[in-house]
Amino acid sequence: MTDDQYFGRLGQAKPLLYKTAFMYLGSESAAVDAVDEAAYKGWRGRKKLRQPEYFSTWITRILINVCNDALRRRLRELPMENLPQQAAEDYDSLPLADAVSRLPEELRQVVVLRYFSGLTLEETARALGLPRGTVTSRQKRALALLRLQLEDDEQ
C-alpha cells in the first residue's frame, strides 16, 4: 500500500475512528489525539495488513488499543480511592455517555462500535476478533445495563 493509498483509506475511516475514540475517551481533543496516534501506528504497521479491503476494521482495532492505552494512563494517574465502582443498578442514573464509558471493556467496545461508530455486526466481529454470536450476546448485555432499547435488524 503506498502512502497515498493509505491516507486515502484513512480519510474514509476517519469519522468512524473519531466517533469511537470520543465514546472511549469522552473529549474532542483526546479523541483527535487518539485518531492521530492510531493513524501513525497504522502507517507504521501497514505492511501487516494483508487484505486492504478490511482496512477500516483493522485500523479500528488499532484505535481501540490506543484508547485503552490512554485510559490505562489515566487510571495510573488516579489514586485508588478515587476509582469509580459501578454497580449494575447505577448505570441507570448516569448520563448515557458516562454510562457507556463505565461499562466493562468487553461490553463497551461492542456497544460503541455497533451503535455509535456505525459498524455492522460482521464488521464489529472482525474488528474485535470475535464470533458473531459473542458480539450479539455482549451487545444485549450492554444495552440491558444501559437501559437502552435499540433495534438490531441483523440479529
Binding site: 502512502d3 491516507f7 484513512l10 480519510g11 476517519k14 469519522p15 473519531y18 466517533k19 470520543f22 465514546m23 474532542e28 481533543s29 479523541a31 483527535v32 485518531v35 492521530d36 493513524a39 501513525y40 502507517w43 448520563p95 448515557l96 455517555a97 451503535y115 455509535f116 444501559l146 437501559r147 437502552l148 432499547q149 435499540l150
Partner: protein, 421 residues
C-alpha cells in the same frame, strides 16, 4: 429526556466532526517526515552538534507543521522575556500555540531581519522578529487589504525581538503572506510566510442576536467570536438611537472564575463608515478551559449625534460644548497654525484620545492633525492634557470632531450568558 432520546442526541452530536480532524493526515505526514529525516541523521559523525542544529532548522523551515507535530519549539520558553506579551499571547505560548518560521532577509548594507515565530489564528497574525541596521518594523505585505491594521511592539531591554500584529477586521488571515521589511528607503528581499492551516482555522462564533438597552440606546449584540489571540464582540445599533456607541466597559468571564477585559495594547475596537464602533476586542479565553461564559457590560462611551462637530472660536476660545471628561479647551494662533490644548479627566484606561484627526474651517476645508502630545498635568494626578497644532489653519472658528461626548456608568452590570457550544 428518556434514554432513547439521550442516545439520539449523543449520536447526533458525534456527527459534528471537529475541524482539527481535517488535518490528521498533515500531522501524521509531518511525523513520518521527521522520522525519515532523523533516521538519515544516524549516519552523521557523533558530536556534530552544529549539523544537528542545522538539520532541525531545516526541518522546521521545510514543514511548518513539523514543530507542532513534534511538540517541541526551540527557544519558546524565553519568548516572554524578550518581548511584552498580552495575557492572550502568554497563554498561547504556554500551550505551544506557536508556529516557528526561521525566515531571514538581509542586504549588503547591514540591514537584516529574521522572523522567528508567528502566533496566528483566523483573524490575527503576531509576527516575532529580530532586526538590525535600519529595519524598524515598517512593512509592506501582500495580499494587501484596507481591512488590515498593524501595530508594533518594541523589544524589552537587552532584547532585539519585536512583535508586529496584523489585525484582519473583516476578512480572514490569508493562507500565505508576502512580507517586505523596509530599511529606510530600501526594501529587504520579500519573505514568503505560509501559515499552518491548523492555526488559521482556529476560532469559533457564538451567535447571540440579543438586543440590550444601554444609556437609553438600543444595541444588538450579534455574536462573540473566540480566537486564540483575542475575543471579538460584534454589535449593531438601532438607527433610531440618538448616540453612536464608541467604547464599552466590557468583561468576559467563564465558569472557572477566569475573567478577561478589553485589549490594552493594540486594537480595542473598530468601526466602519459611521462613528459607531461595531467590534470590540477583549483578551482571549480560548485556553482557559472554561465552557460557560458570561459577558458583562458596566459602562459605555458615546458620541451624541447632534454633537459630532465642536466649534471653537479662534478669537475667544469659547467652545459650543465640552466633550466627555474635558474640563477646558484653549486655542492660540501661532505662525505654524492653530495650537489647541484640552485638559481632561483621566478615565479608567488612563489618557485617551479626545478628538479625531480630521478638522475643518468655516468654509469646510479639511485639515489633518498629524501629531498629538498627551501629558499628565503637573500637580494634578487626575488630569491630562492633549495638545496639537493644526498647521496652516486660519479662520474665525475651528470645527473639531470629538470622540466621546457622554458616558453611561452602570451600577448593575448587564450580564449575558453565552449559549454553551
Amino acid at each position: 429526556m428518556d434514554r432513547y432520546q439521550e442516545y439520539q442526541a449523543l449520536a447526533g452530536r458525534l456527527e459534528a466532526l471537529p475541524p482539527a480532524l481535517e488535518y490528521t493526515e498533515q500531522r501524521v505526514r509531518a511525523r513520518i517526515a521527521a522520522r525519515r529525516r532523523w533516521a538519515r541523521l544516524i549516519g552523521l559523525p557523533a558530536g556534530t552538534v552544529a549539523a544537528l542544529f542545522l538539520m532541525f532548522v531545516v526541518l522546521v523551515n521545510a514543514s511548518t507543521t513539523t514543530a507542532y507535530a513534534m511538540g517541541r519549539i526551540p527557544g519558546l520558553a524565553g519568548l516572554a522575556a524578550r518581548v511584552a506579551l498580552s495575557p492572550s499571547l502568554s497563554a498561547a505560548v504556554e500551550n505551544k500555540y506557536v508556529q516557528p518560521m526561521e525566515l531571514s532577509a538581509r542586504d549588503d548594507r547591514g540591514n537584516r531581519v529574521t522572523v522567528e515565530y508567528v502566533i496566528v489564528d483566523r483573524k490575527q497574525v503576531n509576527i516575532f522578529f529580530t532586526a538590525s541596521g535600519r529595519v524598524t518594523g515598517e512593512i509592506e505585505h501582500t495580499p494587501a487589504t484596507d481591512n488590515c491594521v498593524s501595530s508594533l511592539t518594541s523589544p524589552r531591554e537587552d532584547s532585539a525581538l519585536y512583535k508586529l500584529t496584523l489585525d484582519y477586521l473583516d476578512s480572514d488571515v490569508p493562507a500565505m503572506l508576502d512580507l517586505t521589511f523596509l530599511a529606510g528607503d530600501e526594501k529587504l528581499p520579500t519573505l514568503q510566510m505560509a501559515f499552518d492551516p491548523y492555526f488559521t482555522q482556529q476560532g469559533r462564533v457564538v451567535v447571540l442576536d440579543q438586543w440590550i438597552e444601554l444609556g437609553g440606546q438600543r444595541i444588538l449584540i450579534k455574536d462573540v467570536e473566540i480566537y486564540p489571540t483575542h475575543v471579538r464582540v460584534r454589535l449593531e445599533d438601532d438607527p433610531a438611537n440618538t448616540m453612536w456607541l464608541h467604547s464599552l466597559e466590557l468583561t468576559l468571564a467563564d465558569s472557572l472564575g477566569n475573567r478577561v477585559a478589553a485589549v490594552k495594547n493594540g486594537i480595542s475596537a473598530s468601526g466602519s463608515a459611521t462613528p459607531f464602533m461595531a467590534v470590540h476586542m477583549l483578551e482571549s479565553v480560548y485556553f482557559s478551559g472554561g465552557k460557560d461564559f458570561t459577558l458583562a457590560i458596566t459602562g459605555a462611551g458615546w458620541l451624541e449625534k447632534d454633537k459630532e462637530r465642536l466649534a471653537i472660536s479662534t478669537k475667544t476660545g469659547q467652545a459650543d460644548f465640552l466633550p466627555r471628561g474635558v474640563r477646558s479647551i484653549s486655542v492660540q494662533q501661532t505662525a505654524p497654525g492653530l495650537e489647541v490644548c484640552a485638559r481632561a479627566e483621566l478615565a479608567g484606561q488612563g489618557m485617551r484620545q479626545i478628538f479625531y484627526s480630521l478638522c475643518f474651517d468655516p468654509l469646510g476645508n479639511e485639515y489633518n492633525i498629524d501629531q498629538w502630545r498627551s501629558v499628565m498635568v503637573e500637580g494634578d494626578e487626575a488630569l491630562f492634557e492633549e495638545s496639537f497644532t493644526v498647521e496652516g489653519f486660519e479662520g474665525e472658528y475651528i470645527l473639531l470632531q470629538p470622540i466621546e461626548t457622554a458616558y453611561t456608568s452602570l451600577d448593575r452590570p448587564i450580564q449575558i450568558d453565552l449559549p454553551r457550544q
